[in-house]
Point group: C2
Chain length 409, copies 2
């Protein structure tokens, strides 16, 4: 009976992509490769740990996680599903669900035919590429030629033809010593550094389009993120809060296995006090300066190293270059990081779609009804500080912090 096993395997492989691809090739982000030896190894270990967390937390079935020769290999019968999930783990540049076989020309050709049979529509053009490391009886060119011939012969009824310049699909063969990998699909991941490779940031999250994108960019560069949502009800409504929490959920899908906590801080009373006691044109600036101070207190509590906001130069009246300076002055012990400074709105929206927060961010909710019709765009710091003298800011911050709750989403 034993002799039947290879035959059964081949039959099984021919039934569908899932059956053939038993491995996901995971390539590290290019920027990890140029780090010092010590840092590179630490980052690679962290990517491995984050992959483990991402798969385990989502109950994805896999057999083994291997790190070898500058890559990670995940063994799984659900290679496509695993690959899809790993596109949301930072520190990875791309992934390919692949068939892993011995570096034997016949086996390679058989696997290549099986993978091609899933890709090839009638009349398609294709190319074969090979990358080879180690000593073998054949050259890379031999692999391309023989695999190409086998595909043309075994799938003759599909009328395929070779086109090396602009093929409709490409069969890639990677030969590494005694093993080989055959694949046709490579999914791009988001690159960056593994979450946890940098310290923590606290980030202002509003429920709008920008702030989750700003936090995602900090996450992409390795930071763990604790969002802070300032609840302006009754000047906003419950739907606004729910939107913010939902965007946080989507955001945390990019840092599976790390805490999913959001600070929800009552701020509506503060905002009302500001509207009643300070020039209307400064409402947004004064509101934000208090938000910054609250974020600063939470950064202390969370042992964070910075505050992230979604501001882009000139996007709103409170975000002119002059007003950003006025805002910045409210925080002295942390840098305020604004990864979207140079983004156009359309660019931020495109990124939000890719991240998965866009649809939630544009959901109907009561926008903040405190915004004045003629906000100051060129506020003078002295005048804003003078206006703040009418407010008991330490008490406002203190009461908000005391009423804050941590929501795990």
């Amino acid at each position: 009976m034993l002799s039947l096993i290879p035959v059964l395997t081949i039959m099984n492989q021919r039934q569908g992509h899932e059956a053939k691809c038993d491995t996901v090739i995971v390539r590290f982000g290019g920027e990890i490769g140029i780090k010092s030896e010590w840092t590179r190894r630490a980052y690679e270990r962290l990517v491995l740990r984050n992959i483990y967390r991402a798969l385990r937390h989502r109950g994805t079935v896999y057999d083994k996680l291997l790190r070898k020769r500058g890559r990670i290999y995940v063994k799984s019968d659900s290679a496509s599903e695993v690959a899809e999930k790993l596109t949301r783990v930072f520190g990875i540049s791309s992934v390919s669900p692949a068939a892993n076989i011995a570096s034997d020309m016949k086996e390679i050709a058989r696997a290549a035919v099986a993978v091609a049979s899933d890709m090839a529509e009638s009349g398609s053009s294709f190319a074969v590429r090979c990358h080879r490391v180690g000593d073998h009886a054949y050259s890379s060119l031999d692999v391309c030629r023989q695999v190409g011939e086998q595909i043309l012969e075994k799938l003759a009824e599909r009328n395929l033809h070779v086109d090396l310049t602009n093929p409709q699909f490409t069969i890639s063969v990677e030969v590494r010593e005694s093993e080989a990998y055959v694949f046709a699909n490579t999914l791009q991941s988001a690159g960056g550094f593994p979450v946890g490779s940098q310290a923590k940031v606290v980030g202002l999250l509003s429920g709008g389009i920008d702030s989750p994108v700003a936090l995602w960019l900090a996450m992409k560069r390795g930071c763990t993120v604790t969002p802070v949502y300032l609840d302006n009800s009754p000047l906003t409504d419950e739907a606004t809060t729910e939107k913010a929490l939902e965007t946080a959920r989507k955001l945390f899908d990019w840092s599976i296995g790390y805490p999913r906590n959001v600070y929800v801080v009552p701020h509506g009373k503060n905002l009302q006090t500001i509207m009643e006691n300070a020039p209307r044109k400064f409402t947004c600036l004064l509101c934000k300066r208090i938000m910054y101070r609250i974020a600063e207190r939470i950064a202390d509590a969370e042992k964070a190293e910075g505050i992230v906001t979604g501001e882009a130069i000139g996007e709103q009246a409170s975000q002119t270059l002059v007003n950003l300076r006025v805002l910045d002055e409210a925080v002295s012990t942390y840098p305020v990081h604004r990864p979207l400074l140079g983004f156009d709105k359309t660019e931020t929206e495109a990124l939000a779609r890719r991240i998965g927060t866009y649809e939630t961010s544009i959901r109907e909710a009561k926008g903040c009804s405190a915004a004045p019709s003629q906000p100051s765009t060129q506020a003078r710091l002295e005048v804003v500080k003078e206006a703040e003298k009418q407010l008991d800011i330490p008490t406002m911050v203190e009461e908000s912090i005391r009423a804050a709750r941590i929501v795990t989403v």
Copy 2:
């Protein structure tokens, strides 16, 4: 003789693209359109002024600049050349060199045939699209149909065919009241806000890949930019300085008509003092903290509203989240804006190529030889400040500022 003029014009139009396209359609960046009426008008006027400057400073020939119906039209016999130049003016989303004719069906068809004749290779597929504003004897569909028929008929020898789904070229017809525009090419511009719509920033420029991109992003959002180059010679060489000045030149090609000044500040002696008098692992942090302070002094002198740097989280040892906090603390009166915080190196490089600074940035030069082999990645502020006590920082800053020169590039 007068009756010959239209015939001559048509003959002339058939000779080449330049002869036909007498107008450049300029579309404002989308974000300008969602500003308040007052701001929108001010921004549109500024785009107009910047176009005027860009064309005049480059000696480009044009006849007229018109702002009407939410767009700008530049009349010029060198429409393609003008269009190319305007892709480097911020606040513009796209430009199209076009033939401007009366909204008469025959004229439209004639212009469309002439434009198509430049685009159509033998056997090409094409589509005609029409957008119409105003009352006309024909519908948009009529235009598409009749223009399409005329192209097929007049260019019959080219064997063209219509493909509305995936055409190889598209003839666009825009009918606006009594006028019409016909074009085949739309060039994407960089969007953003017009330079001068925001205040000034001072930016640290190193000659490397990142810093000019960071300054470009601030410029893109409307800021005027004054680069500050810290000259570390003899720890770097003359080629490093020349590289920095050359990237500044390329950068200023995006803000034609605005000052092209670069501060060149001697800093090598400071760096040597740091190397000799403070722990080596802090060299880069201490060097940068002094650079920040120098930038702060120049920001005062230039009446700037912020300092821009090219740092990205985790890109180098001095740019870990923890160390950015240590750097930030050196400046108290300006925000430090870091538009590249969330960028991967490959993303910054791609943008540098588009901007035109990449080739200069990678030119051979002596890298800074002061960088230690084991820099601190998690410096504690108190320890860094303790190390600074061994240095006479106010004097170092003062002497650098006094020896600074302004180079107009």
